[in-house]
Subunit: 196 residues, 4 copies
DNA sequence: AATGAATGAGCTTTCATTCAT
DNA sequence: CATGAATGAAAGCTCATTCAT
């Protein structure tokens, strides 16, 4: 815990600077300064700007995969699984806003388009979600007249849109607001937007 | 009208190159070469890389605003209005795939986040959609136990997710597929994903 | 001849700086300054440090090939052909000392060892010389009890050693000294070092 | 003798890496890794990259001086002395190919080397050879109508060219080939390339 | 003696932009 | 309008060297 957390320092600095300025406008010098270390040390640990960025972003992907696999295996019913996914996003927004901000603004679209690695990570993410949706259709919980990956897009699109808005508006998120959003998304997704 | 369409040429070239490589990786030299004009002429017409990009993207925003305002004013019922919005996105995907690809990958998140201009355009866009949603709630068509802007996010998030996927997969879109998607989104949005 | 000799200027500057400092210690900034042009223009014309260097060195190789091919085809007797080769080296030393200096100190050994291109250029050079030697053996002028490529090495080694010494010692070369060297090399090569 | 041969390890590693990559492209990290020691230890023993290189090269110079001085003093006749020199080069090529490879590619021509320490070493080397040549002229064995240092260049150039070729081609050298080369060089040097 | 994290000056290269023609 | 040679600030990255342990 003592001396050798320089790499952690650098990751934190990267998180902050990438979030503030975006990947393209981030200077390695900024990261080094923010971390309070020398220029070269960033390269000593991470080798390149891209590698530093990927290291940061991978912690996000791994957590995401972990949660989705957990839900896939769990014995909970489908609505609970979907709620768990929404809550994971909201919780990450609360605890690591910079990380999710980077995901939304730098990863979720651009990188996917222009890098093969990005694309494959996304596909794995979608695929895990789709498995849950399929399970729901198989159990007769979710409607089967819409293709499972259509349902998946709709669900994830809605969740991601919410997170984007939170990020864009830098909104504070307390427990009651979290519940409001979770309920709103899950309600509309399951029962529809139509008044009853 | 005949002789001087160099600016159109440049816009088309920009559309193509920005789409293929992304804003950051696009070189003005690429654009000029693709347009078959010289370096300097791009500057003569557009002044800067950013300005060229914005000019391109603005045609999208304007069309989008136009459709939304049209729908806002129209006498159609709410479902029809929502369908029109979905169809506008799908139609643009068919007719100007490069444009919508740029919107998805370069505008909808990143630029909004890191430029003030982007943010205000987005707010206007959301606001126009929200007006339609509010109208739906006012008329008792859409549920009122969920905040109007929550409903808006869910709807737009779902639509955007679809378009993203189309773009990513470079999917062909014929009339029947268009109908399938439109129906899927509108059905799930209005009546929910739950099996009946 | 008027305005657009910038590339010539840069080549001359490169010749001078590479010669003075060696490839590794040459800074592109030095070349640009020496040429009186901007930093970027060097890249505009040559693309990279290596490319600039190769362009410079290639003029040497091409001249060398040219002379050797000329001699190969010529109707002169073998001693005259060998003398022509020696004189070409000595003349180049007089007229373009920087060029031959670069050849000796940067190309003739190091680059050959560490680049495939360098190696193949050398092989072509050797091969052209060997053809002349073989012709001499075929005509009964040169001894045949020593392998042709051995004879070639000995001849070229002697010539190159002379040039190296001139370069390293920055010696002045007048006509009489040129003759002295040419005679010495050709005499010893043909008739041997042994006193008669 | 047993425990502390780290400096030997480093020299061997340097020998190998300098040979493989050349001085400029050699990284101290490569040397340390190859030697299986740490970064800092190389500096502990040798102080700098240049110093390490010079230390390595000096073992070559010292052996070379030693042989030349031995031959200078010896009572053998001139041809035997010259043969001994040729054989020293060929033997070193057999026993320590990396060392001679470095000499050929990094020392014998490099202008950089000559500006710093190398020039005086080279002069001593030439001077020792020249003494033998002068002795040969004095005894009426070698022709006196060519300046002694010209004869020396021719002889050494021929030898060096051979070694270069061996190094370049990574040729195997057995006893019979050694004899062939030695005889070829000495024959041509003493009696000339002309057919009798 | 031995380590390797840490430094930072200095390098090559890129590319949006300018401007003389 | 049109060109493209020319600019140069600024970036990412390298690597010999230092030094606390």
């Amino acid at each position: 815990m003592a001396q050798n957390d320089k790499d952690k320092l650098i990751i934190d600095a990267g998180l902050s600077v990438f979030c503030k300025k975006g990947y393209a406008s981030t200077r390695m010098a900024d990261v080094a300064r923010e971390a309070g270390v020398s220029y070269g040390l960033v390269y000593h640990y991470f080798g390149s700007k891209r590698a530093l960025f990927d290291t940061i972003v991978d912690t996000w992907w791994n957590d995401l995969y972990h949660v989705l696999e957990e839900q896939k295996e769990s014995q909970d019913d489908i609505p609970k699984k979907l709620i768990a996914i929404i809550q994971f996003f909201l919780d990450t927004y609360s605890t690591r806003p910079n990380l999710i901000s980077i995901f939304i603004s730098e990863v979720s679209r651009s990188s996917v388009y222009h890098t093969t690695v990005g694309l494959s990570k996304f596909k794995k993410f979608f695929s895990l979600c789709e498995d849950i949706v399929k399970e729901g259709q198989g159990k007769g919980i979710l409607r089967s007249d819409v293709k499972p990956h259509y349902l998946t897009y709709i669900f994830l699109g809605a969740v991601e849109a919410f997170i984007s808005i939170l990020v864009l508006g830098k909104e504070k998120l307390d427990i009651s607001k979290k519940k409001l959003i979770t309920d709103g998304v899950i309600q509309v997704f399951l029962n529809g937007a139509k008044a009853k």
